[in-house]
Symmetry: C2
Amino acid sequence: MLFKTPLGEHLNRSLDRQVKLAVTGLSRSGKTVFITSIVHQLLHGLQNTHLPFFQIVNSGRLRGTKAMPQPDMHIPSFRYDVAIEQLCGDPPIWPQATNGISEIRLAIRYKSKNPLLKHISPINTLYVDIIDYPGEWLLDLPLLELSYEEWSKQIATACELEPRLSLSEKWRGFLDTLDPLGEIDETAMRQAAILYTDFLHECKDYGLSLLQPGRFTMPGDDLKGAPLLEFCPLLKIPEKMHYDPCLFTEMKKRYEYYKEYVVKKFYHEHFSSFDRQIVLADVLRAFNTGYSTFIDMRNAINMVLKSFHYGKTGVINKLFGGLKIDKILFAATKADHVTPEQLPHLELFLKNMLSNSRNNVIYDGVQTETLAIAAVKCTQAAYTTVQGERIPCIKGMPIKGTQPVALFPGEVPTEVQIPEEWVEGRFHFIAFKPPRLANIHGSGLPHIRLDRVLEFLLGDKF
Amino acid sequence: MLFKTPLGEHLNRSLDRQVKLAVTGLSRSGKTVFITSIVHQLLHGLQNTHLPFFQIVNSGRLRGTKAMPQPDMHIPSFRYDVAIEQLCGDPPIWPQATNGISEIRLAIRYKSKNPLLKHISPINTLYVDIIDYPGEWLLDLPLLELSYEEWSKQIATACELEPRLSLSEKWRGFLDTLDPLGEIDETAMRQAAILYTDFLHECKDYGLSLLQPGRFTMPGDDLKGAPLLEFCPLLKIPEKMHYDPCLFTEMKKRYEYYKEYVVKKFYHEHFSSFDRQIVLADVLRAFNTGYSTFIDMRNAINMVLKSFHYGKTGVINKLFGGLKIDKILFAATKADHVTPEQLPHLELFLKNMLSNSRNNVIYDGVQTETLAIAAVKCTQAAYTTVQGERIPCIKGMPIKGTQPVALFPGEVPTEVQIPEEWVEGRFHFIAFKPPRLANIHGSGLPHIRLDRVLEFLLGDKF
């Protein structure tokens, strides 16, 4: 390592005065809005009447929060200032999504609860680092457990079903023209990688979550055009092992190099130092798009949980030493897009979605939580009368509209349903504009359950 | 290090069968065209009748060259295929300039000269890796020798003279509003860095070479928005040393972090493994722009040479262990823009420009060479008669014209002149379109002195 962590940082960590919260998301889940709102809630904690379940605020022990220079100067800053300005603009707009990794540090000053410490050090400081990174990078970790052949088979299986069957057509057609045991042809490999990347982008646009390798859709300048991004799975894996250099061995070599250089590097430089992980998912978007999108999201989330399991006990743990992460929060975002009485359904649905893998992780000593949240609430609960019956609905300004609408977007199931029940048009969760906020700097942003999020993530640290 | 060099690479290096040529340039010097032409000359070495001074070709010992998969898969590939297609297009266009680092590997097969080896291994292979990187990164190395205070003073002095005096006005104006001993204000630091970066971009557009820090004008995605790029020199350095955190200490901290994280990383990962370095400079552009641009280029080249000197003997050497580089070529590019009898003048001028620092480097065992070259020759030498006198001229297609022109662009001085002699309009070196080439795949590209370049860089390896 070129870089040593400054001494002060070590001290803060060992005294439990620092916590690293990693935030990532699947399927455009609203990471930027989430972090912006979390930061805003904390900065305005003293005036905040919106955080009843966040004990430190509720108990009156909070003394104030301020933004601090971040510890890792080579990581781009999370621009809270820009995002909040957009949210409070006239008209307010949703902040732009971030690419790659970014970071922000907050210092929370609070009164100690510990009767002994109360006299020695009456006011303590907790440093909270929030790190934002693309969900695709998280989905790269499972690759560490897979050989090139195994991974290729996974992708081949996924491409047997719609929507991947159609979306991958062009790429698969090109692969058919290549001989896995033929000569290494850089131009053909490059073309195969371009078509595979196009396929991943189309999957993303469709709403699918499982997009591997993660850097293909988000390379960053430093890797653009590098051979380690110029490979793809092969659908026909040679039966016998081949050692002579050929297309297959070169693809495999680059896959291994990708794992070594990109995935392990991310693990070492970032992932291994995280204390707590938040995974956001736009479950409602999956409801809208259909059964396959939902199954894909479920697979992705379970794959992530498995990685954490391996991080504690499996190959990853053996390779790198244990993961520090001791709490994982899965949050279904945009919970203000359903009527209030559906919230428990949404949470239950999410819980059921990941019930199996969750047990493993809990067994490994990682605490998990599932919540339905809204980082910035942009609808109001209301009632409407249909054919004499009073039914709940939500009111808000549609993203493309100029007039507010009241609607009942559909009932959220609590269990995963069979494909036949997943009929088209059953759900119509729509996107809303951000609310107009009169006094945003005076108090917290309206939200759903961010206080529970904060209590789960930080409550035990005070 | 996460990465081990494959065993085969070590073997090739130790058997002197591999050579890493690093190519960089100052002031848009035509790096991409240079590398494209070098690669093309080597690939077409067998049919090449244009390389009389490249002994391996001339002696008939060359057996052929081909492009190979590059050794470092995380470095973007140098796209020779794209560049040559642009050069041979109809109409031909100059290939697009590259950003950041890129790499290409060639394998040269040749008959051994050594009478002993001739029988054991009659045909040998030399692997040539050509690495392209921005000149700004090379100009970052001198920062390793400078404290923040020293560097700030250098920039302050440079800004006392035109054109930097005018170009830096906005940035200096903003600095005047800041108190170096005042509170750390992230917004103000960011603003100062933005204005300083704008200033560097304007310097670049003007034709100046000395642009530090290098990543400010070429950050790459990974560093965009990171605090380590959010600093700048301060023009008023506090007289006494201050230890309390203030604007000055924070700027200094970030400067040190930049050196640690960016400059040393480049040194370790790339620079320290280079065997030979080519520095290209568009001296003629400096002639056109004026005295100050020329002086700036001279300073930049000498700073570079000093770095190599330090790399062999100074602080850099102490920090990292010795540099491997044993040959440096300084080349004045676009030598086809002067009339042929002026070529020796151009070379002599370049030699005089760096005479002092050159001695140091030669003393350290680094062989240096200065050449006036044209990677792709796009003019023809001709004669014209003016007032009865026969004078030499060049003929070519101006970059913005549709008719070829014949002109005498000016006499190249052999010595650096005093500012007064550097009258405006004295030189008018113009840019030309690439030549139309009938049979580009059959033979080498027309050039000036690339055979000497190849002989200097590779001749001793066969």
